[in-house]
Subunit: 344 residues, 4 copies
Amino acid sequence: MRVGVLTGGGDCPGLNAVLRAIVRKGAAAYGHEFVGFRDGWRGVLEGGDEWARPLGVPDVRGLLPRGGTILGSSRTNPFAIEDGVARIRGTLEAQGVDALIAIGGEDTLGVATKLHDDGVRVVGVPKTIDNDLGGTDYTFGFDTAVSIAMEAIDRLHTTAESHHRVLIVEVMGRHAGWIALHAGMAGGANGILIPEQPFDMDRVEAWVESRFRDRYASIIVVSEGAMPIGGAEVLQSAQKDAFGHARLGGVGDWLAHEIERRTGKEARTTVLGHVQRGGTPTARDRWLATRFGLHAIDAVEAGEWGMMTALRGTEIRMVPLLEATKQLKTVDPALYAEAEVFFG
Amino acid sequence: MRVGVLTGGGDCPGLNAVLRAIVRKGAAAYGHEFVGFRDGWRGVLEGGDEWARPLGVPDVRGLLPRGGTILGSSRTNPFAIEDGVARIRGTLEAQGVDALIAIGGEDTLGVATKLHDDGVRVVGVPKTIDNDLGGTDYTFGFDTAVSIAMEAIDRLHTTAESHHRVLIVEVMGRHAGWIALHAGMAGGANGILIPEQPFDMDRVEAWVESRFRDRYASIIVVSEGAMPIGGAEVLQSAQKDAFGHARLGGVGDWLAHEIERRTGKEARTTVLGHVQRGGTPTARDRWLATRFGLHAIDAVEAGEWGMMTALRGTEIRMVPLLEATKQLKTVDPALYAEAEVFFG
Amino acid sequence: MRVGVLTGGGDCPGLNAVLRAIVRKGAAAYGHEFVGFRDGWRGVLEGGDEWARPLGVPDVRGLLPRGGTILGSSRTNPFAIEDGVARIRGTLEAQGVDALIAIGGEDTLGVATKLHDDGVRVVGVPKTIDNDLGGTDYTFGFDTAVSIAMEAIDRLHTTAESHHRVLIVEVMGRHAGWIALHAGMAGGANGILIPEQPFDMDRVEAWVESRFRDRYASIIVVSEGAMPIGGAEVLQSAQKDAFGHARLGGVGDWLAHEIERRTGKEARTTVLGHVQRGGTPTARDRWLATRFGLHAIDAVEAGEWGMMTALRGTEIRMVPLLEATKQLKTVDPALYAEAEVFFG
Amino acid sequence: MRVGVLTGGGDCPGLNAVLRAIVRKGAAAYGHEFVGFRDGWRGVLEGGDEWARPLGVPDVRGLLPRGGTILGSSRTNPFAIEDGVARIRGTLEAQGVDALIAIGGEDTLGVATKLHDDGVRVVGVPKTIDNDLGGTDYTFGFDTAVSIAMEAIDRLHTTAESHHRVLIVEVMGRHAGWIALHAGMAGGANGILIPEQPFDMDRVEAWVESRFRDRYASIIVVSEGAMPIGGAEVLQSAQKDAFGHARLGGVGDWLAHEIERRTGKEARTTVLGHVQRGGTPTARDRWLATRFGLHAIDAVEAGEWGMMTALRGTEIRMVPLLEATKQLKTVDPALYAEAEVFFG
């Protein structure tokens, strides 16, 4: 069989590990051949040898510890383009591709689901730094992002204590607070703010004041998508910098401003940004990504079209692609409540 | 309520994080008071203020990122001592302790189970670097050990390639190969040997030869408890060093020797040893240890005696203490078989 | 002898290691006693037991790997306060302090120099993350800051390549580009911009364009104090965020904006901020800080007032305090020129 | 000009960074072409296209963070082979190589020195993990090795304290104690033993006993080449394992045995081994290796034959090759004495 692979959406530690596992097992166990499409769905749309290259075992050597994706990525959506699906079919036929493995997040897997409905033979591998895809306990890249954020928080503790400051760490998470919750708990934050629960500035102020009575330092972790109760408008303006240029975050700066205004304490924000999604994956993410790759190629061999890999407990299972995208996986209020004992 | 806590067995990253979570939540949510017993069951046996100290919120500040256990540990077994159980009851009464939280592995939880049978109010928290306790998907400390082993393997790759050598990494795991399997897969080992499956030296030799034809380098990860088919006797002698002094490992040195003898290639062994069990926990282990602590103190408040915390998927549940110890959790052959595609 | 110690200015990995070395050696070798003043010169000004505590060997246990300073810090300048010097003399007399060790940067050592001129017995230890103090090859904290910035750059490479983006990393360095130069060279940046050399946006644009022709990715490291030729006015406005709130940086955002405007490529900025100055010191910084501490207390014992520790090659020497502050140590144009071969 | 490059001796983090800098600058600034010889002097002896490959800018992309050497290495000595020098001249002529850059340690540079005496145009770059080459303040790789050893010591502290054990860390250094001294000081060891100073077991015993009175834990760092006073014979037998197979170390195991025998305390040894010389270089080593590469190719262009790069303070200078090897650079007794205040 000749199998096409592509990676779509934002990059994520572990993508290369998935590719390596797919190619290693497909070649050794099933005699598959592989075509790697460049830049996500764009490569399949464009077709042509510039956009589709053979992937053999030598091409995936050394990929396990490397962040990013050797295939490149994009956010191109073939369903937003006239004749998109027809062009995809054309490329697959021209390249002699019998089946596709699509590795990506909500958008990439959404396209995969529709293509499957249209009869394309596709298997998915879910990918999101934010851990907000359904159907799977975790996605690779998340543990790496949490680790990087925790290391930053560890480092900030000493400055917070030496200088009696409030330090705010803005982490990724537009719609779900998983990174903030895990990194905040692992880093010993004194407050965690997530998109699922609009926050009350009076409560944040109380955390800071209580903390200062006791230890003169405070660290608050905030998801980029968190917002104050009723405060979306203020925050939207904060999403632009002094040049009217859209910035990644905004809520972190806004919080520092508000805390200084209310408490008179110095407050500083660190926006971790892209650092969270690059570099070598953690051991756990390499393990998960490798297993996703192994099971994805098994699923191709078994003809489990329209399915994707998922972690359930300690096992990898195949679940319908639709599981990933039908509903955003957000932080359960009970889980957030567990962490609240450490606030203030 | 006045709650006693103790840590038993080998140390493990995350023990301090459990203690912190227990004390923080017990004090804030339930008004508990805490007594920390030194050196595991030994402190409860000895009793007296030298062995039992009050633990308050200030005592657990800053503990989250710290490896080891501020309470100290030992392998003392009260059931191996005359009047052991009576002395334990005496200490608990003298210290006014209403309930105990025992944090430990097979031995510590085994004692806890028996004490519970004898009517002592006890809740357990499972702890093992090796990940071989039953009833829970994972234990804290395991992810840290795997990460450290993986980083060592990452470093050894460059030497293996530059010098055309076989490098053997001996990791922890007397009875179960979890660390070897996870670290070997995450580190891209060319062979993994675990206690569950006695290994065939002809096969190991074939891995080395095949690898050298292709890339001139080979890394093999071996659990300290792995052994060759029928080779226990040889390995037992290898368990002693030149002074007749018992060493942690042995199989790693034996492997290097055999590989050199059979293939003529230079082979070197690194025994990671205690480095795997010390130092700051990974983000995931801090998360798991903290949640174990939070749920353990909830269980004390709820009177769930004879139960212990367990991870199932993404949830913490309480399961009977017996679950942990009734059967060693070993590596499923199917899971090992997944990894074999990368061997040789 | 009774020796006072204080830490002033911004915090810096290694401060605690200096304190530990001073107290360990002073106590063991010379029988000194120590008083730690809180929050830099402020503690000496305030005096009183709340601001001055005895420091013994047990107080410095475990400090070697810990970032920050257990004494706290401030930017208080006694020469900016009426009767400041008299109050300092009063505190030293009241506390029975025979000599002072001042650990700090330009401001702290400037005060120390003047106090020495006024007859106070003082020895200095130079401290700056930015490495811009004179008289010494390096200061502790710098290697740690460079390491953290390099790790961030390592991580960003994968995103830059996977997404064909320009990534800008803004690092510390208001007046000197040492961190940018070292981290940029160690991280393999495609461009480095430092305060010593106003930059030409046409040249930066050319780097980006040349890089994209070849590899579709570009990473530029910029000191927070760098500025375009003739562009100070633009940048000054960029120093405020959307709330008119002063931000640490600004030039990074400005660069991303300009690069997008000129090249049409996506550009993103990461401002590393306080993460660079916190957390555990590198091995080299612990070594340097420890040796500075040991030599500082030797100098106190020897009565070398008005001197400070300095690294020259592999040796620690005592040099006049004035050496540190008489002239900012900036990046030599020849050293910057060495790095230029990697630009574009 | 056509320049040959080779790497000899044990591998070392930073070798690839040197290669990258040489090729990048030589190609861009001087229009040089490069030939990379495989496996040190062996590649030059063998000659032929299998052993000599063109090295261009694309070949050195991504090398900066990678440990090891893409050229491979060996310990082949052309002066130990009949017609060795003639064969080297033959290869250089056949490959059209005008000059050689030899990157290596005592042996490699010793060969380079003799070849220079014989009229071959050669420039050297000194390389040793152990930091024992003369003529330069430091060599690249040393800082990385010290960092790795320090991280291991950091991790072992928690086990030493939790279990009241003596932990011994055996680090590299056959003839010089630089790694033990730096890592021991940076890691807060309670004793450091180096080859330059035969140790007195009574003193080691006293350290352990004093430490246990106070804190119940002890960490001792020992160079693989350290030995007890008059104890070489005992140690030589310890250099073999139970199979009569030579092991890297030995003194660490011997120490654990002796300490247990004398004090009755549990003692355990960790032999770090090859982990110290692999993996990505620290920021400082990347900086040093890159600058060595840049200056080496400048020296080739300038015709400074028989010279090698050296670090003096913050500057790179060219010094005669003979400087590196005429005398082993050992730890000055005064420097060791500085560290002794922390022992016991």
